[in-house]
């Protein structure tokens, strides 16, 4: 397949929210092109009449009673890893310019 361009990589990085540096952009152009080249072998496989497999065990409509169950997690334990906590609020950077 044709080598991914710098713009292709930058577009993907933007979708994936990664601020790649120049070296990474260059490396990924080569590496991802190579990996996508490897998976090209699927292109010509005859899959007529077959449906995709999204899950393998055939379970359907798995439900449970809609009841509160205590797993012992406190609000404090759930918030203890927050990088920027103010009171009980998670503080984030400015969203609108």
């Amino acid at each position: 397949m044709a080598k991914l361009t710098r713009e292709d990589i930058l577009k993907l990085a933007q979708l994936a929210k990664l601020q790649l540096d120049d070296h990474e952009v260059e490396t990924f152009q080569t590496e991802i092109t190579e990996i996508l080249g490897y998976v090209e072998m699927l292109k010509d496989v005859d899959t007529d009449g077959l449906e995709p497999t999204y899950q393998v065990t055939g379970l359907t409509n798995v439900t449970r009673p809609d009841k509160l169950k205590d797993y012992g997690s406190s609000q404090e334990s759930l918030l203890k890893n927050v990088p920027n906590l103010e009171g009980k609020y998670i503080k984030v950077k400015r969203m609108i310019g």
Partner: protein, 473 residues
């Protein structure tokens, strides 16, 4: 420095011959002594001692602390646990303190087992050597210049070094079986859904399986018996057998074993082939019926895997946004910059590579050509396995095409590294149970035999694996 079997160790704690405290101290001592192998990320010393005290108290009070009373174990560091950090060997989760524990850990603790340490892995379980760990590479216990395999390389090395009687790992494309093969451990990937994924850092959710690494099939069966079963916290879990997974049928007579043609030909190292062929001959001599089987789509499995897996990885890793937990870039001016810089600086090269590939194959215009196509070829694999299992009870082949490779040998070439999973990924795509058991050596390095059974035939698979293990003694 091997431990007694898990059941004997638990017996000795229950009947007061050994204290849980003495077992924990022994494990922690061995962990310190084996520091040079870099198998461990963190120890769980304080909590392990508290739990040991509790178990010993129960024994003194005449109570039964459970089937794994006082038995020390190690968990891959992608299992959420109390008592130390849970990092998934990634910089982005460095310092993360889990607010709850994985279901598997909870079940082990309920039977009296005691977590002593967290093992190294390729960051987020992406890799086949532990070289992708953001912290350090684990060394192969048999040859320090070689990798232990991955991604559960720390867990696998731990049990072979005798740091604990068993370790937990996760297997998305071979991450339990491959390191088991490379270090000479038993590595068991159960049927998809038999063990809850709740509380394990998600990699590729339709493929992730949790299981044990041990020094014997008997130990693996006991661990599976404790950790398996339906879980309200993971809706993909399946019902377990009513019969104990430790109740094994080890009679080989009349068992039909299919030798997978595609695993015995392309890319297989000649000396590994010789070990596997001998293993198959031994099974036959002991009464198993050997047949040749072909699964023509198997050579496509790795290509399917390297579309499905990164697709699910890119989706699962989107939660690492630097806002709620994990590494957060301090100098961002806007929320968007905070996302982009936190992820850029927090993720290692392989995580980024998979996020990028996943984003590509899921993006509009490419979804049908890559993701949907891969999932449809996956159906072909499912069908071929079903057809094969109409004729045979088990499939057999090598776990890996080679013995453990040198550190650095494949690190610069991602595609070459991906190819180490060539014989293990199909079991994940199809959801069937598979086990790697030590089969012999090439140049003094272990070779693993892979046995595969139909979905939900975990007990039969453990049975034949045990029978094979007994043949070698």
């Amino acid at each position: 420095m091997n431990w007694e079997s898990i059941s004997k160790l638990a017996d000795s704690v229950r009947n007061g011959k050994a204290s849980a405290r003495s077992l924990i101290d022994e494990a922690l001592k061995r962990i310190d002594a084996a520091d040079e192998y870099s198998a461990i990320i963190s120890k769980v010393t304080k909590r392990a001692h508290e739990r040991a005290e509790y178990i010993d108290e129960q024994v003194r009070a005449g109570k039964n602390p459970g089937r794994l009373a006082g038995v020390p174990f190690i968990a891959k560091d992608n299992f959420l646990t109390f008592g130390s950090e849970t990092t998934a060997a990634s910089n982005i989760l460095k310092g993360f303190e889990a607010p709850y524990q994985s279901t598997a850990i909870e079940k082990l603790e309920a039977e009296g087992a005691i977590l002593v340490a967290k093992a190294n892995l390729d960051a987020f379980a992406h890799g086949g050597s532990t070289e992708n760990s953001d912290f350090f590479t684990t060394l192969n216990p048999h040859d320090k210049s070689r990798v232990p395999g991955g991604s559960s390389g720390g867990s696998a090395a731990s049990v072979v070094l005798g740091l604990a009687p068993f370790a937990l790992g996760s297997d998305t494309g071979g991450s339990i079986r491959l390191p088991a093969s490379f270090v000479g451990a038993v590595g068991y990937k159960p049927t998809y859904g038999l063990v809850s994924r709740s509380g394990v850092v998600a990699m590729a959710s339709s493929l992730d399986c949790m299981g044990p690494l041990t020094n014997s099939v008997e130990d693996a069966a006991l661990v599976i018996d404790v950790i398996s079963g339906r879980d309200d916290l993971d809706s993909t879990t399946i019902e377990r057998d009513e019969t104990s997974y430790t109740n094994l049928d080890t009679n080989l007579r009349g068992k039909v074993v299919g030798v997978v043609k595609e695993y015995m030909t392309e890319g297989l190292d000649d000396s590994v082939r010789a070990v596997i062929t001998l293993a198959i001959n031994n099974l036959e001599t002991a009464g198993a019926v050997i047949k040749q089987v072909s699964l023509p789509s198997l050579p496509l499995a790795l290509a399917v895997y390297y579309i499905v897996c990164p697709a699910e990885v890119s989706s699962n890793l989107s939660r690492y946004d630097g806002q709620r937990y994990g590494y957060s870039y301090k100098d961002a001016e806007s929320l968007s910059e905070s996302y982009e810089q936190s992820r850029e600086k927090g993720f290692g090269a392989e995580a980024k590579r998979r996020i990028m590939i996943g984003t590509y194959v899921l993006s509009s215009g490419y979804y049908d050509a890559y993701y949907r196509k891969a999932q449809t070829v996956r159906t072909k694999l499912v069908n071929e396995f079903s057809t094969a299992f109409e004729k045979v009870d088990f499939l057999v082949g090598p776990t890996a095409p080679t013995i453990a490779f040198k550190i650095g040998e494949k690190a610069q070439d991602p595609l070459k590294m991906y190819l180490v999973d060539i014989m293990t990924v199909a079991a994940n795509l199809v959801g069937v149970p598979a086990i790697s058991v030590p089969a012999g050596h090439v140049d003094n390095l272990p070779v693993g035999l892979q046995l595969i059974a139909p979905q939900r035939q975990d007990r039969s698979l453990l049975g034949i694996a045990r029978a094979y293990e007994e043949l070698k003694v």
